[in-house]
Symmetry: C2
DNA sequence: CAGGTTTTGTTGCTTCCGAAAACTAAAACG
DNA sequence: CGTTTTAGTTTTCGGAAGCAACAAAACCTG
């Protein structure tokens, strides 16, 4: 295990990407998938195996097949690690994930909103993290940071986060200076999409969208295998799309934004405004299941609106799949059904027929994991 | 001028693309723009000049500059031609455009909606076209066909056109068989976007959207330099986005689609339904300019709705520019202003500040020109 | 159980592409 | 009339990938 080269050429990167996404593969199948000859694979794999990033293992065939058994190539999870942290208004958690996306260590950081303090605490946290995991510092390849807001193209500066009240904060530079590690900033919805592409169900997809339901509604897309950032890094910022002209005032200054209708807090606010005594959205769902008309109405509004926005998104980009990721236990059966129905009814039938619309509920250190995925993505696919 | 090779490798294609989009360029500047060394250019340009696709011309410097003057490389417009035709419910026009997008001949075809007849008439039209232009048949590199509806990924089959009542019509094959030319089918909004990218203002842009106002509303995007087709070829199909729940019934079977609010026919319908005696949208604009409240209301509805949809589109993909192309003299000053205002008000300020939103009015053989652009695009960038 | 078959992966050899350095060409400057 | 500056070319070299033949490791057959 020599000190990692860290610089792989294009073909090697393509191979790493394939192995990472398609699981363990034989050289021959890799060659086919990559569209190159077998001899190329011999040379390529040799360097990767020598570098230690790829492991070779004999295939354990269930049923005996003819011919020489293949040697499977798989990622070496222990080759390197990435740290990740999500900066919100809550106590941040710094996590360490390995090359295949598994969390191997975590450490809770003190809360702060001052950029310098945040960077300093992350730097201290990194030391704790690698000590806890028992890995040499050189194996930590980078750190990803998720923020809710706009981030520049270089993953360097938080241009604008109303949530944190940050404007042009070069957080990545601060962290890099204090930790000596490559640091990458990214919008939280985009980190979630990156995780889905790198380690989640979307590994084999080139065109998909992710919609996150957390404090607010977030959205990001992979298009043609690349994360869509947009000309200003604002692609996917649907939270402040106007969905009700003259609707309720939003933090952003406008009225009737999606966030004022479909964000978990907004749903609760609606329910209480309509006279329901509820503390969680689950309770609203519970009431709705008993045909409480007010509860039904509240959930209907949220689900139908969210569904309409997703439908629009689908019509604009025609993705292969949309992943709705619920990080705050807000999407119950009813809202889910409503989203599905609304999307089905508002998307061209030819498109709706093949669209995969899946829901998942996550919790815990999810956002920090997604942040780590950004560092991993930078490592796997630098440009 | 040997018979055209027609097959250029990747580097040559990249060079052709650069020369076509960036205008006449010296070898040195091409090398910089292409990110390759100067020596590569020498070999590349030689083959292209020998093939006849690129012309060399001495630079005419206005002000004397130091150093050896550069030899400018420019496309040879006469190297090849492309035919294009748009199939609608009106009489089709077949046009011939050269390598830089100029129309050099046109011929009107009989109207038909039967695929075989259409193909046969196009084949006859092609003969007339090349005779009229006086070019050898080998110089006609392909033919593009615009249809309003869904087209498969191979540009071969019209999967679905409610407009023409076509389903799974392999029109490209029919035309190819009857003309012996490469034939490419494409959705009309996407042909318009392709023209904008290849020959229009968007040549230097990698991320932009085109919204067409013709019989209905169309939309297509270039993302990362590539036309966005989507998983089902339906990217950009916003005409049937629901914008008014329970709105007027649409041809598509749903209610309240964008087409029932913002399509030129819908605007006229609205105006007449509200009691205005008008024959054109210009007349409505005229009335509105005199503060006719009904006319103002009608135009406001259309403009604000269109603006909201464009705003959503911008938030989803964050393009550098949006080109609104009016092919039916429907977008007057008032609607234009309303669109601008609505987009400005509904897009994140950071994004709205840099967004270019431009309007243009076209007529005549526009759609056929755009169709020809698709054949040109296939020639320049086959894959 | 020996030899054929089938599939996997490797070793040379060749070819192609493109980058770096050094060179030539053509203009303005003084 | 040399010097400087920029443009373009020639030469040389190294890396990457293809083809073909070869070696390895399993199964199948008689």
């Amino acid at each position: 295990m020599p000190a990692m080269a860290r610089k792989f050429n294009a073909s090697q990167q393509a191979m790493i990407h394939l192995i990472a996404t398609m699981g363990p593969l034989s050289r021959t199948r890799l060659a086919r998938a990559l569209g190159v000859g077998k001899p190329a694979l011999t040379a390529l794999t040799r360097t990767l195996i020598e570098a230690g990033i790829v492991l070779e293992a004999r295939e354990e065939a269930e049923e005996p097949r003819q011919g020489r058994p293949s040697m499977l190539l798989a990622m070496n999870p222990d080759y390197g690690y990435f740290a990740g942290v999500s900066i919100t208004l809550e106590q941040p958690v710094l996590v360490l994930v390995d090359l295949v996306g598994h969390v191997t260590a975590r450490v809770e950081l003190p809360f702060s909103r001052d950029p310098d303090t945040v960077a300093a605490q992350i730097a201290e946290g990194v030391d704790v993290l690698i000590a806890e995991a028992g890995i040499p510092r050189e194996r930590l390849f980078g750190i990803g940071v998720a923020v809710s807001g706009l981030v520049d193209a270089g993953h360097e500066i938080c241009l604008n986060s109303t949530h944190l009240d940050w404007h042009n904060i070069p957080l990545a530079r601060l962290i890099r200076e204090k930790t000596g590690l490559p640091a990458y900033l990214e919008n939280d919805a985009k980190t979630a999409a990156t995780r889905e592409k790198l380690f989640g169900e979307a590994r084999i997809l080139d065109d998909f969208a992710v919609v996150t339901i957390g404090d607010g509604v977030g959205c990001a897309s992979f298009i043609d295998g690349k994360l869509r950032r947009g000309h200003n890094g604002g692609a996917g910022e649907i939270a402040h799309t106007t969905v009700e002209t003259g609707g309720r005032p939003c933090k952003c200054g406008k009225r009737g934004c999606l966030d004022t209708v479909a964000a978990p807090g907004a749903i609760l606010h609606d329910a209480r405004g309509a006279g329901l005594k509820v503390a969680t959205i689950a309770e609203i769902e519970h009431l709705a299941a008993r045909n409480d008309p007010v509860a039904l109405d509240v959930l209907h509004r949220a689900g139908a609106t969210l569904g309409a926005v997703i439908a629009h998104l689908v019509q604009v980009n025609d993705p292969e799949a949309v992943f709705v990721i619920d990080t705050s236990a807000a999407i119950g059966t009813l809202i889910r059904t409503l989203i599905q129905q609304t999307v089905g009814a508002n998307v061209l039938p030819d498109m709706g027929a093949t669209l995969r619309l899946t829901f998942s509920r996550v919790s815990g250190d999810f956002w920090s994991q997604t942040a780590a995925s950004v560092a991993a993505h930078k490592f796997f696919v630098p440009d």
